[in-house]
Assembly symmetry: C2
Homo-oligomer: 152 residues x 2
């Protein structure tokens, strides 16, 4: 799969992930130790009324599922020639992720960019989401990844 082969508007279902209170607390103790992420008692009297996942945890799960999806595709013979990202845009946490919630992640290609600075690569922008069981967004962001161009 070179940059040329990537189809705009293609939605990839990345699968689902259930957030346990245990994992939420473990992640946040290390990276985001705010009371409403790590302390069930203190979280009760917080803005959120209970433990919620760190937004960085919700985002990291997207990355994890994206890599697993790429592996699955590679096993089917569809190898992406990408992996390198210059960063991303517009990370939004639309609603809190609470213990026991299952998020459904997807990624839709929406821009293909040719680069003067890197003629051997193209940039792909994708719109990425984590949805709750009702299909309402919990997290979204615009991802970016370089993909090799087909050699001429």
């Amino acid at each position: 799969m070179y940059w040329e082969d990537i189809e705009l508007g293609l939605r990839s279902d990345l699968g689902s992930y259930t957030f346990t209170e245990d994992e939420m607390i473990r992640f946040s103790r290390m990276w985001d130790p705010q009371p409403f992420h790590i302390d069930p008692e203190a979280a009760k009297s917080s803005f959120y009324g209970g433990i919620i996942a760190s937004g960085w945890h919700v985002a990291a799960v997207w990355m994890k599922l994206m890599i697993a999806h790429g592996r699955k595709r590679a096993a089917e013979g569809i190898v992406s020639r990408g992996g390198v990202s210059p960063g991303f845009r517009e990370m939004r946490w639309h609603q809190p992720t609470r213990p026991g919630m299952t998020l459904h992640y997807d990624s839709t290609t929406h821009e293909k960019v040719e680069l003067k600075s890197r003629p051997e690569m193209g940039l792909i922008r994708s719109f990425n989401r984590g949805l709750d069981d009702a299909g309402k967004p919990v997290m979204s962001f615009i991802g970016q990844g370089f993909v090799q161009r087909r050699p001429k």
Copy 2:
């Protein structure tokens, strides 16, 4: 510290963090298992020529240091009435983070936003960076946080 008390242009030094290959591999095995993040041998023949930290790891360290900074300020009696974020913008990874590199993180307030939708809160936007020893950017993004307004 209510929203009204926050000064624009104030730079907070969040401290430094040294990335070990061990921790880089441990983080990425869980959240971003790409060969150039987890496999020293495979990384050698990758685009990067060696193991680099996941960009999500570089960002998570910012969060960790930001919380530690808030705790230190709280111990000095300066309690921020914030912590809730709707998301962030323009995450950029400017250069790879390699084993043994030390990044120096900071955060500078640059926008105060009044909200019709949440009159009891204001939004603070900050420009956040992780710099290498030479002061060149490794990571940057625009953070956003709600802060309570002073009761009238």
